[in-house]
Symmetry: C2
Subunit: 340 residues, 2 copies
């Protein structure tokens, strides 16, 4: 900040928000954020903008400010089209829990549709520019997800439900959250499920998805850690479909003797349960993942993701002030095995 | 509108929105609606307010108006806490579909939590006064629901998903929607299911909930209409629980010979299917209602509510202009039997 620079922009009449933005070297939106929602702006940026405001003698319109800040923070979250399937309920439970916990905190939840990541980013930009949302909850993250980078680059506060696999701490630094996330510790869930299943006998199979998905590989890891060398030859693979899982387990049970099956999802667990029932082993212990109404209805044990805890942690990080928050920006929620 | 009345309120300086409200005999909010969202105000009220505006020479603040109308209409909808169960997915599918169809129309969806009807009305009032929502979608309606009356009384545009049982046309009149609703024709669904089941044999049982719920009685009616006199002695009752339904059907199958079972929900259908399987009749046709992932996974036929069509109809009614809309304010969506 220096006087010549201020003179350059020309101060014949009252300074405007554009003048402040030019002097501070930030966007108009960032100046607006410093005035209306200072806690969402990085420390260094806020100081630069405040210095520019002071140097220029800028007086933000109090009326405009009041109009904006009358609205409490609104959180935008993408709602996928309904795709069917047994485990879709987990994301819906998360959104129920988020709404349930946001409302008493005075936070609003605005849901929007988008066909893909590009459309979602256009939508976020539009809602943000219209002053309709202030913060974002990202769901359905994946390795190389462009959304987290885009949000970080545009200084839009966000928290992801789900890890950006392969780059857990990316961008986090003192005073700035980088890419904050909350996720469920899948390996801990299958470790607990396998530990429980081992009570039935040593041969505990794992029915998982094809390798290569962060979530699936994580869930397999928990089973391997609990099994050690005894895991050999007991890893079965199916896409997330009841009928394919049933066919895979039908075939596997004809060849190998097992004492229990730990599954990467309730969909796989239902397939395994049907296969076991039709192979004359209706009591073979089958443990699912996600604790959906299907597992509950069939009396199968399942790993409960605890979406309520995820929602609570997401909200905590979403309203945390980067300037003062000294905890981690990444939280792993330990799931709970529901035994039936 | 007359001159003495105007003089009564005293016009020493520029007229305000309060002056317009007093002269027109409406609330400040209604004046604001006439200015910012005229299509949501009744014809007669709008004319009265516009006459008052003209008589007083009131000039709404263009800046304030622009600030408000930059935001497109936002629809508020209550999201219940997650209660588990198999059929909860229907409401979630509806909300997915509503979001999916509202977004391209430029409408926003804001979800909020509330423990009961009173809290919901307080929440709606608060969101409405803050300018955060303009319209409401009611779900979970029931006979004597106080919310519809309250919304109608406060001139807040709304559409209910579900009938206010017992008073289908309440309050509707020319140029005013009264209490608009969209619902699924449950009787048509069970009539279709029963018609299909009759191909398996004449003795088609109905497994329904205890009498007295609008939705449940409607679904039973469809079965009775399709069965005629043959219905005698084939009406079974269970609360919406897999285990109770299973016990009821276990007992019923031991006493009566039936050719198929039509159920009021997929939860009941799963109970009936488990009972049939364990009574040595795994192939007894069982037809559910709601077409949830459970029915899909188990290969059971089920009546699909088509939440996407409900959402489309709700949005149509929600944006309809009461002054020009000449169609019905109540729509029954015909469900579809998904045969497996």
């Amino acid at each position: 900040m220096n006087v010549p620079k201020i003179r350059e922009v020309g101060m014949a009449k009252s300074p405007t928000v554009e003048d402040v933005a030019r002097v501070a070297g930030v966007s108009r939106q960032t100046v607006s954020n410093v005035i209306n929602a200072p806690d969402i702006v990085r420390d260094a940026t806020r100081q630069r903008v405040n210095a520019a405001i002071a140097a220029l003698g800028y007086a933000p319109s109090m009326a405009a400010r009041r109009l904006r800040t009358q609205r409490s923070a609104t959180i935008g979250i993408h709602l996928d089209p309904y795709a069917g399937g047994i485990s879709g309920i987990v994301l819906d439970r998360f959104i129920h829990a988020l709404t349930d916990r946001a409302t008493p905190r005075g936070l609003r939840i605005l849901v929007y549709a988008a066909a893909d990541a590009d459309e979602e980013l256009r939508r976020i930009r539009q809602l943000r520019e219209g002053g309709e949302i202030d913060r974002i909850v990202l769901t359905g993250t994946y390795a190389g997800d462009p959304r987290a980078d885009w949000l970080a680059h545009h200084d839009i506060p966000f928290v992801a439900f789900g890890r950006p696999w392969g780059e857990p701490g990316a961008g986090a630094e003192m005073g700035h959250p980088g890419r904050p996330w909350v996720d469920v510790d899948g390996a801990a869930g299958t470790r607990a499920a396998t530990g429980h299943a081992l009570a039935a006998g040593r041969r505990v199979a794992f029915l998982g998805w094809p390798e290569g998905s962060g979530t699936g590989d994580d869930r397999e890891r928990g089973w391997r850690e609990a099994m050690g060398d005894a895991a050999d030859g007991l890893r079965w693979t199916s896409v997330d479909s009841v009928s394919q899982a049933r066919a895979v387990v039908d075939e596997a049970l004809a060849e190998a003797s097992v004492d229990a099956v730990v599954c990467a999802s309730d969909t796989l667990a239902l397939g395994a349960h049907l296969a076991a029932s039709h192979s004359g082993r209706p009591d073979l212990p089958v443990i699912g993942f996600d604790n959906t109404p299907v597992a509950e209805a069939l009396g199968l044990s399942s790993v409960e993701q605890r979406p309520e805890r995820v929602a609570e942690a997401v909200l905590d990080l979403l309203v945390a002030d980067p300037a003062t928050h000294d905890g981690d920006w990444h939280r792993l929620i330990t799931p709970e095995l529901v035994v039936r």
